[in-house]
């Protein structure tokens, strides 16, 4: 039931995408922006200005590819803490991201209440997330259940790591979605680690996509560092969901280019050789190469774009850093609506 046939149809990144050049450049822009923001956050962390950072580095293609298959303002996204690139595509601005990093009052996700990378925006239909992993998978099932009840055609897209598929909530939610053929897309970003625990101690299957077999839904495994492949797979899952044919589990095979978080040091548990080879799978580099190879982005254009992004990141950082911290008087706000 894994769509291996379908998978073979998927364009390796050297194939030509039918998307307009402008769209492809936009995709690149989001990937590069996510990367630049993420790198800046680490710098700020090392400079003592941001106590906590958790990265999307290595996951950008999986997220931008998927998010471009969704409809902004219509579809619900429930990304996890590595979802920076996905929320940027869905409409969150660099300044908003930085406001969360600095725990400022104007942070739209939580007003500085949550750790950074706990994205949320009702306006953008990015659903507020928590830290306990996997809970959002159930919420995605519920959102799509409500959509079915209401007769709408929005889909709920959620993401999580491969470690998180060990949680009961993953199982219960996928099962529910399959039984009721709900318009949900479950994206597992498999980076082969849950903090220090390698995938072999997490599961005994070769692919997270195999887990779809337990629910009777299609499971697709895709190279998550290949933006266009992820886009294509997600596009089909979205179509399927909108048609009322039910959910899809997508495994996007990615790499975690950084330590788990700024509190971690992965050299204690990751083999040297692996650490050295990580950059070979850098999704950003792969996509740049594609754009160059297909004459979609010249070196000059790329430089201009990077400069523009750097400026954007500078501005966002500055704006956020200068924004006000939450007023202690607001501590007890929003416990109840009434």
């Amino acid at each position: 039931m894994t769509l291996s046939a379908e998978q073979e149809l998927l364009a390796p990144i050297t194939l030509r995408s039918e998307l307009p050049a402008e769209t492809l450049r936009e995709m690149y822009h989001y990937m590069a922006l996510a990367r630049a923001l993420d790198e800046r956050m680490w710098l700020l962390n090392r400079a003592g200005k941001a106590p906590f950072v958790i990265s999307c580095q290595g996951h950008e293609a999986a997220q931008v590819g998927a998010a471009f298959a969704l409809q902004r303002g219509k579809d619900f996204t429930l990304p996890y803490y590595r979802g920076l690139a996905s929320v940027l595509v869905m409409g969150m601005t660099p300044t908003e991201v930085m406001l969360a990093l600095f725990a400022r009052a104007a942070d739209p996700s939580s007003g500085g209440r949550q750790m950074p990378a706990h994205y949320g925006s009702r306006r953008l239909k990015i659903v507020t997330q928590s830290s306990p992993v996997g809970t959002q998978i159930a919420h995605a099932a519920g959102i799509s259940l409500a959509e079915k009840i209401k007769g709408g055609d929005a889909v709920a897209w959620t993401s999580f790591g491969e470690g998180t598929t060990s949680q009961g909530d993953f199982h219960e939610a996928l099962n529910l979605a399959a039984v009721h053929r709900l318009p949900a897309i479950f994206q597992c970003e498999n980076n082969e680690y849950a903090i220090s625990v390698p995938i072999r101690q997490q599961m005994a299957v070769n692919s997270v996509a195999d887990r779809a077999l337990a629910y009777g839904m299609p499971g697709v495994s895709v190279d998550g560092t290949d933006l266009l492949a992820v886009y294509e797979v997600t596009r089909r899952a979205v179509e399927r969901a909108r048609r009322g044919d039910g959910p899809t589990l997508i495994e996007a095979r990615v790499v975690r280019l950084t330590a788990h978080s700024s509190d971690d040091n992965d050299r204690t548990y990751r083999p040297q050789r692996e650490l050295r080879s990580l950059r070979q799978h850098d999704p950003l580099a792969r996509f740049v190469a594609y754009l160059h190879d297909h004459d979609l982005l010249s070196e000059a254009e790329a430089q201009e774009l990077r400069a523009q992004i750097a400026a954007e990141v500078d501005a966002a950082t500055e704006a956020a850093e200068q924004a006000a911290l939450p007023d202690p008087e607001t501590l007890a706000d929003h416990v109840y609506g009434s």
Binding site: F76, D107, P108, S109, S110, G111, R113, Q114, H118, G120, S121, R122, V127, T128, S130, P132, T135, I137, A138, H139, A140, A141, G142, I143, S144, L145, A146, E147, K148, I149, K150, A156, G168, D169, E172, A173, N175, L176, V179, H180, D333, H334, V335, Y336, G337, S338
Partner: protein, 327 residues
């Protein structure tokens, strides 16, 4: 006005809310054809169809978790947990998610949902079909917890709960379902969440209670009346938010407080009530704040002699009232 039992009153409340607002739906195990194991949703599948009365898979965490999601997508879910004892697998979704979503999103998102849970014992349900769960959840800011004891309150509160913009845990004492009857007006009324109700006025002693114990306390109070002791019985009804003002006022009047619940004593909800009284109306106290609860054993046994030993009853309560009154 009609005479209903607690179960019928809840069913009527749900039915009326579903008729009035098509965003309301019910999700739980066996709620469809079976009408719930207690038959609270009986007849509703025929009336509202399988898109609004939905049999859930046997998985409490996603029953609650999916309702949280649905509530964030403009519907008003009522999750049914078959027995309160089986809410435990959903603890994470209730406490870490439903209760914290408004706060953690700084008011951007909210979760208007109801979780119904039949609780309590004295029905030969043994360790896992008799539990009281209110202390665990009444401790959680962001959650509301109500425990009505009469048909009138049950109907009025279930409607308020469905309309509430925040998650409400709605506790239904199983033994009251068919035992307790009362008249319920035909009009579309509400009982607001957060208000206690003085079910019996008195001057010598205040009793604070809820659920099945309310009825036992009223019975005990009547016994004491015959001996000339006037007992005030306050039905807390809403445990979170708690109507502190009514509690403190009552103690200011009587000077003595007895707190009665079916749940285990240690760490039970009575501790909170006692602490509030001990701190805020200390000067009015004419006697030790007394708590009555179940012995601290893991749960209520099945064998009748053990169940009886575990459960409070009007006799045990009357004895405690007398002791305190005599202090």
């Amino acid at each position: 006005m009609s005479e209903l039992n607690v179960l019928e009153a809840i069913r009527q409340g749900i039915d009326e809310m579903m008729a009035a607002d098509e965003r309301v739906f019910v999700f739980g195990e066996d709620v469809g054809k079976r009408g719930g194991v207690f038959r609270v949703t009986e007849g509703l599948l025929d009336k509202y169809g399988p898109l609004r009365i939905i049999d859930a898979p046997l998985a409490e965490s996603v029953i609650v978790g999916a309702c949280i999601g649905a509530a964030m997508n403009d519907t008003l879910p009522i999750a049914e947990i078959q027995f309160a004892d089986f809410i435990a697998p959903a603890f994470n979704q209730i406490v870490q998610e439903a209760a914290r979503i408004r706060y953690r999103s700084n008011g951007d998102w909210n979760v208007p949902m109801v979780i119904r849970a039949p609780y309590g014992g004295g029905i030969h349900g043994a360790l896992y079909h008799s539990q009281s769960i209110e202390a665990t959840f009444a401790h959680i800011p962001g959650l509301k917890v109500v425990a009505p004891s009469t048909p009138y309150d049950a109907k009025g509160l279930i409607k308020s709960a469905v309309e509430d913009a925040d998650p409400v845990l709605f506790l239904e004492h199983k033994k009251t379902y068919r035992l307790i009857k009362g008249s319920v007006p035909a009009s579309d009324y509400r009982v607001p969440i957060g208000l206690a109700d003085v079910k019996r006025s008195g001057s010598d002693l205040s009793v604070f209670t809820y659920g099945l114990m309310l009825h036992y306390c009223l019975e005990a109070a009547q016994t004491l009346e015959r001996a000339g002791t006037s007992v005030e019985v306050v039905d807390l009804r809403s445990l979170r938010p708690l109507d502190t003002a009514t509690i403190l006022d009552s103690v200011r009047k009587t000077g003595k407080a007895l707190i009665v619940h079916e749940d285990n004593l240690t760490g039970g909800f009575g501790g909170e009530v006692a602490a509030l009284i001990a701190e805020h109306v200390f000067e009015y106290l004419d006697g030790p704040i007394t708590r009555l609860g179940a012995p601290d054993v893991p749960a209520m046994p099945y064998a009748k002699p053990l169940e009886d030993a575990f459960m409070l009853n009007p006799l045990k309560i009357a004895t405690a009232m007398r002791t305190l009154a005599a202090y």
